[in-house]
Symmetry: C2
Subunit: 214 residues, 2 copies
């Protein structure tokens, strides 16, 4: 599968690139900064600068011919930062519009746990709001074959290969590596299309968890 | 008509309250701060604190029994301000959801010129983005009888009673008083339902301009 990863220079994105390569997908790393692109190229990964502040028509030129797009960009979720609006929300929506313009049907979004429930936005509320409105656009205003992954608090802990989609207790955390594994599993499992899948660390192998997600 | 004005303490909102009172509407001024509420009450205007950071279910309690809602709140459009996301976007959408919960069908939104066209967001881009996504929600995600007014650059100049909806040249400005007149005219003219109406200062009487808007 030919996959374009938006936000490949980020802490989740670079692990997504690794996982997709290990799964023998043909990956292009779309990164914010030229130095990130250069780093990927040193590892023989196809990479290019992808600017979320551009217009969808310009973005679409870069997305021609791909089978799927992964959106794992994040402005950092800092408060008091215009980029929450312009990257996490508008950049995400423009990526969706660009995907549609380019004829790419499959779109995997890395969102955040409980983004859809305002009463659970405790910290970094503007970031959660951005994810909420971006996810709503993906679900209701596009015809993309989407999967929305909603990881809990992201950690740098060792990847375990095991997660759970049961976040009914009170959320939880998950390693970025396990999120990347779930992105890859979702792309290879069409039963995840049209689903919003919460994810925290757990006891179920990633592929099984994605396959059995409701 | 019984009208609840959200953002009544703002520079447009207080003029909307004046215009509606002059038109013999029964107005409640929903304001952000208690001191604004106190000021309205000194002028014998019914007023209450309306908090855009609350949940829609709580907001809805305050909106019961009204015929229409005007949203003219604004966080100030400053850059680097979380309130752009939480007030101008999420506060607006929660107001719509609250209106629906309360069974209020009519909703007049004070938006901003060219909010629907990203290529024209030159300054305060996060503010325009907030208005864009709020307007999109109103148009596509609610069943409210909406009118969206898109005034040009707001001035404190004298109200002229005359405007134009032709902004094809390159936009323009409009006095806040003329915006307030247009809000009132829209509420009293059901032909404005379902329309997005740009507004700058011009030569057409406000009522005529609203009535003839496409």
């Amino acid at each position: 599968m030919k996959v374009f990863v938006i936000g490949a220079g980020g802490n989740v994105g670079r692990l997504v690139v690794d996982h997709l390569r290990n799964a023998n997908d043909e990956v292009t790393a779309g990164a914010h900064r030229q130095e990130q692109v250069d780093d990927f190229r040193k590892q023989s990964v196809k990479a290019e600068v992808f600017d979320l502040l551009k217009q969808p028509e310009e973005m679409a030129k870069q997305l021609q011919g791909y089978d799927a797009i992964v959106f794992s960009a994040g402005s950092g979720g800092k408060t008091g930062d215009d980029m929450t609006m312009l990257v996490d929300l508008d950049g995400a929506v423009k990526s969706m519009q660009a995907a549609e313009l380019a004829g790419v049907k499959r779109f995997v979004m890395v969102s955040a746990i409980f983004a859809e429930d305002r009463t659970k936005w405790v910290t970094i509320k503007p970031y959660y709001a951005a994810k909420f409105y971006a996810d709503e656009w993906l679900r209701h205003r596009t015809s993309l074959n989407y999967t929305i992954l909603e990881p809990g608090g992201l950690t740098f802990e060792k990847e375990t290969g095991k997660v759970t989609t049961d976040v009914s207790k009170s959320g939880g955390s998950i390693s970025r590596g396990d999120v990347a594994a779930a992105v890859t599993a979702s792309l290879h499992d069409d039963s995840s299309i049209g689903k919003v899948i919460p994810l925290i660390s757990g006891q179920t192998p990633v592929k099984t968890a994605i396959d059995q997600a409701k």
